[in-house]
């Protein structure tokens, strides 16, 4: 879908839907929102809905950063402490590497 060809109200509605959808544990959706609407929000000459689109993009970016921080922390903790956790570690693991502790 080409953003150039849809009217501004629809762009706003699309941006808003992507933003709202991201709350369902979907940081990827927020990422797509930020990347897709970045040009629309920041690099285009101003139009009526642009302010709201900008706010959605910013909020999506914020949510994305929070999720990335949370996931990075969790992954680091898991990878580091997995072996030490014994049974709990195995229970949480989807794949267990062979040949290591």
């Amino acid at each position: 879908m080409n953003l150039e060809r849809i009217p501004n109200e629809e762009k706003l509605s699309l941006c808003r839907r992507y933003y709202l959808g991201g709350f369902a544990f979907l940081p990827f959706l927020w990422l797509v929102n930020v990347l897709w609407f970045f040009r629309e929000a920041f690099l285009k000459p101003t139009y009526t809905e642009q302010l709201q689109i900008k706010s959605y993009v910013k909020k999506s970016a914020l949510g994305l950063i929070v999720w990335v921080a949370v996931l990075t922390t969790w992954i680091t903790i898991f990878q580091h402490f997995r072996a030490q956790w014994g049974e709990v570690g195995d229970y949480l693991s989807f794949t267990i590497p062979l040949g290591t502790a």
């Binding site: 080409n2 009217p7 990827f28 990347l35 996931l71 898991f78």
Partner: protein, 437 residues
């Protein structure tokens, strides 16, 4: 693992090569008062008959030109369109070959078979094996034919909800279940520890965003990427679960079926084309890879908000406008000329059905899995691209729905068997004797 019927169908439905129209080339006779219906392009869709074909390739006929006007015979599809299709087909094949070469799961023979290939291939007897592979092929092709006919019937009786539900179910399965399997195998191959919470997040995000992009609205590039990924996943499943010889025979048989189904007057795919043409409807976008946005500048219907199929409708209307009615043509021609003058036309690009991607990748993937070395794989790859090129050329010349599988698959099969049996021993003995050519 037994795949569901919906999977089979969905992949079948995906085979179609659709031509999108390129904007008409404005006539240079601007001093004429009457507008020229300038559709020099007609869209062609080619249902690939691998199975299910997708509803309605729409055929567009060439707009009739007014009397006294010379028709410009131009080839709508130039090098640019060919490249636009080469890239996704190549990417799909690269993903499949890379996976085959690195993740051993997809080359391990499993005792499970698809229900579509019930006959076991006995490696001890050549005759028996050949017979069983032919029987498997017959079963598979008949399943495909039945599914195609069901699809045509559903389409004719306008059971759109059923078809949509079917498509959504099959994409759900592809995007969640198969990608879960794939990730699991990749992690095992690279000996990486992965925990359930992170995995669930990854699969959930991948799947949901994929559903949104494919079935609703999303950035074009992301949608193309998702279509390539699901074609690759489907091809990998086929490579794993189809028995050796059956796979080759099935590839050949599907190309023949494609040819018959699309070109024969009573073929199911052709009937689909005609029905869709009568109704001026587009093919479901979830089954077609489109290389560019189809857009009609100045279309009155583009301001139709809130429709989930907005883009499809736009496409449909764009195509519809290339119908045979003269007033539409005139209006179209006028609009197109107008838009051409304003330099707002956008190239439509070409469309290819996902089944085509899948079967091309199956061929190259099998060549990589069983062919021995890279010569064979590369030869098949080149063969398929050549076939695609020729098919596009024919499409541009004939301007009719054409099947995309036969030429490429034929070349691919010929190249595979000849490279495997002739070129490889030749190269091996050259290398053994250190003789460089």
């Amino acid at each position: 693992m037994n795949t569901s019927d919906s999977e089979e169908d969905s992949y079948n439905e995906r085979s179609a090569l659709v031509q999108s129209e390129s904007p008409t080339i404005p006539s240079y006779n601007q001093d004429h008062d009457m507008s020229l219906p300038q559709e020099t392009d007609s869209k062609r869709r080619r249902p690939v008959s691998s199975g299910l074909d997708e509803p309605g390739p729409v055929e567009r006929e060439r707009a009739s030109t007014p009397d006294g006007e010379e028709e410009e015979l131009t080839l709508k599809y130039g090098a640019k369109h060919v490249i636009m299709l080469f890239i996704p087909v190549t990417l799909c094949m690269v993903v499949v070959v890379a996976t085959i070469k690195s993740v051993s799961f997809y080359t391990e023979k499993s005792s499970q078979r698809l229900i579509y290939t019930p006959f076991e291939e006995d490696p001890n007897s050549v005759g028996q094996r050949l017979l069983n592979s032919f029987l498997n092929t017959i079963v598979m092709i008949s399943v495909i034919v039945v599914m195609t006919i069901i699809l045509v019937v559903l389409y004719k009786y306008r059971c759109y909800k059923f078809i949509h539900g079917w498509l959504i179910l099959s994409s759900l399965m592809l995007l969640f279940w198969f990608s879960f399997m794939y990730l699991g195998e990749v992690f095992k191959t690279y000996n990486v520890a992965m925990d359930y919470p992170t995995l669930v997040m990854i699969i959930w995000n991948f799947g949901v965003v994929g559903m949104i992009c494919i079935h609703w609205k999303g950035p074009l590039r992301l949608q193309q990427a998702y279509l390539i990924v699901i074609s690759a996943l489907m091809a990998l499943i086929f490579i794993k679960y189809l028995p050796e010889w059956s796979a080759w025979v099935i590839l050949g048989a599907i190309s023949i079926y494609d040819l018959i189904a699309v070109l024969c007057p009573k073929g199911p795919l052709r009937m689909l084309v005609e029905t869709a043409q009568e109704r001026n409807e587009p093919i479901f976008p979830a089954l077609i890879y489109s290389s560019a946005m189809v857009w009609m500048v100045g279309m009155a219907d583009s301001s139709n908000p809130g429709s989930a199929d907005e883009r499809q409708r736009n496409e449909g209307r764009a195509r519809a406008q290339e119908g045979v009615e003269s007033e539409d043509d005139a209006a179209q021609g006028g609009r197109r000329r107008y838009s051409a003058e304003e330099d707002l036309e956008e190239d439509r690009g070409v469309k290819l059905g996902l089944g085509d991607f899948i079967f091309y990748s199956v061929l190259v993937g099998k060549a990589a899995a069983t062919g021995g070395d890279w010569n064979t794989t590369l030869a098949c790859f080149v063969a398929i691209l050549i076939g695609l090129c020729l098919t596009l050329l024919l499409l541009a010349i004939f301007k009719k729905a054409l099947p995309a599988l036969p030429i490429s698959i034929t070349f691919g099969l010929v190249f595979y068997f000849s490279t495997d049996n002739l070129v490889r021993p030749f190269m091996d003995s050259l290398a053994a004797h250190q003789y460089y050519i």
